[in-house]
Symmetry: C2
Subunit: 243 residues, 2 copies
């Protein structure tokens, strides 16, 4: 089911049994630029994996580097250690953009952007590689921050698991049309509307134990109150990709 190594330079993911949409094909996005834009606008994903046939769905912070995804601290880590060949996973990101209230139940919907990525998860075992990946995670979310932090201890690094996965194939799904009713329903005296939804940052709360004179670093300038988190995350991803 997976694409071959040679496909990593392709502009789109190959369609196969696991990433091809079964219905609502007009919502599908197989080009990598679209899928990456959905992934890079997020901090949190949900990861599905199965152990002895029992599925688990875990939320975690993640980030993308080219065709690879990374995350850490997953509850899958204990079982991953026992599974050297790696663990098949599906990593999904979902942005909810609006609630759509239509004139019949069937046409009620939501506008959203989602991406499902398939691959095999492996633990990053090399300590130096792991430490570097964790620094990149910090910098991806908070530009330039890693160098300003207290260095990680050996114990802290030992207690952290970093997991990486090559994206073998993926699919984006986008709905962004608001109310879409049957033509004959528009004349009915039924209220219909789009309720926009956005996830935003609030007023920053500096740590109450911050010593006097410690300034807020410039790298955090993007986090302004009421700004959309997806915009900030996408902007910070670009800063991290092209410093």
């Amino acid at each position: 089911m997976s694409t071959t190594e040679a496909d990593t330079d392709a502009p789109a993911f190959a369609r196969n049994d696991r990433n091809r949409l079964r219905r609502l094909h007009e919502r599908g996005r197989y080009d990598k630029a679209s899928v990456h834009a959905i992934l890079d606008a997020a901090m949190i994903c949900h990861i599905a994996y199965a152990i002895d046939g029992q599925p688990f769905c875990t939320a975690t912070a993640f980030w993308r580097e080219g065709d690879r995804l990374y995350w850490h601290g997953s509850s899958a880590s204990r079982m991953l250690r026992a599974q050297r060949p790696g663990l098949p996973v599906c990593l999904t990101v979902t942005h909810l953009d609006s609630l759509v209230l239509a004139r019949c139940g069937f046409n009620h919907s939501v506008d959203y952007r989602s991406a499902m990525c398939f691959g095999v998860a492996h633990i990053v075992e090399d300590p130096a590689e792991k430490a570097a990946a964790l620094d990149r995670m910090i910098d991806r979310f908070y530009p330039g921050r890693a160098a300003s932090l207290r260095t990680s201890t050996v114990q802290e690094l030992k207690a952290t698991t970093v997991i990486g996965m090559q994206i073998e194939d993926a699919v984006g799904k986008v709905r962004s049309k608001g109310v879409a009713d049957e033509e004959e329903d528009y004349a009915l005296p039924i209220y219909a509307a789009r309720f926009p939804v956005r996830t935003v940052i609030g007023a920053v709360e500096p740590c109450s134990r911050l010593p006097a004179g410690v300034p807020r670093p410039d790298g955090l300038d993007g986090f302004t109150p009421d700004r959309r988190l997806d915009e900030i995350m996408l902007e910070n991803h670009h800063k991290y990709e092209e410093p």
Copy 2:
């Protein structure tokens, strides 16, 4: 691994191999009231399931009725039809409440509320039961709305799959402490802060084809601009549970 039928009246979920937290035990919530509060504050969940060992993670709207969860239109539906004994799933809800910037990489975190629910998914096959469930879904999200809509056609009901699952066991996870650094790190000249995150409703956009004189129904009064979606959803769940 599942609890017995007799446990549905218990105030807490039994702990077992699949819902017991492996680490950070202080974050665990096994009482049903805590788990339900996390579920009922959400509209969207992520569902993990596996087909022939391949995991899938799908986002969908869902709702709770007592110890049962319902959702519809999942891409799992085609495969569910072929699987009469039902399909093991893990349904997870996650609310992101803040980003936590600490003085070392290890203590960077997020505040969040999440719930993982385990069970076996079945299709609601009976047409009348299915139609009633879809009406309840509308009313759960939008109080009193189902009765105001154009009646669903036979074709629309046929094209919709409703899936139900008894919650066999579940676990909530909550972090809400903001910055928590090592005692010796607080004196360091490193910026640390909590960035609150909230998901809110924007200004309502009535359908551009709404006939003149169609009022906005009172049942939608809770959806006021800038109000938190989790608050609205929890409030609407309570209206639906105790009309």
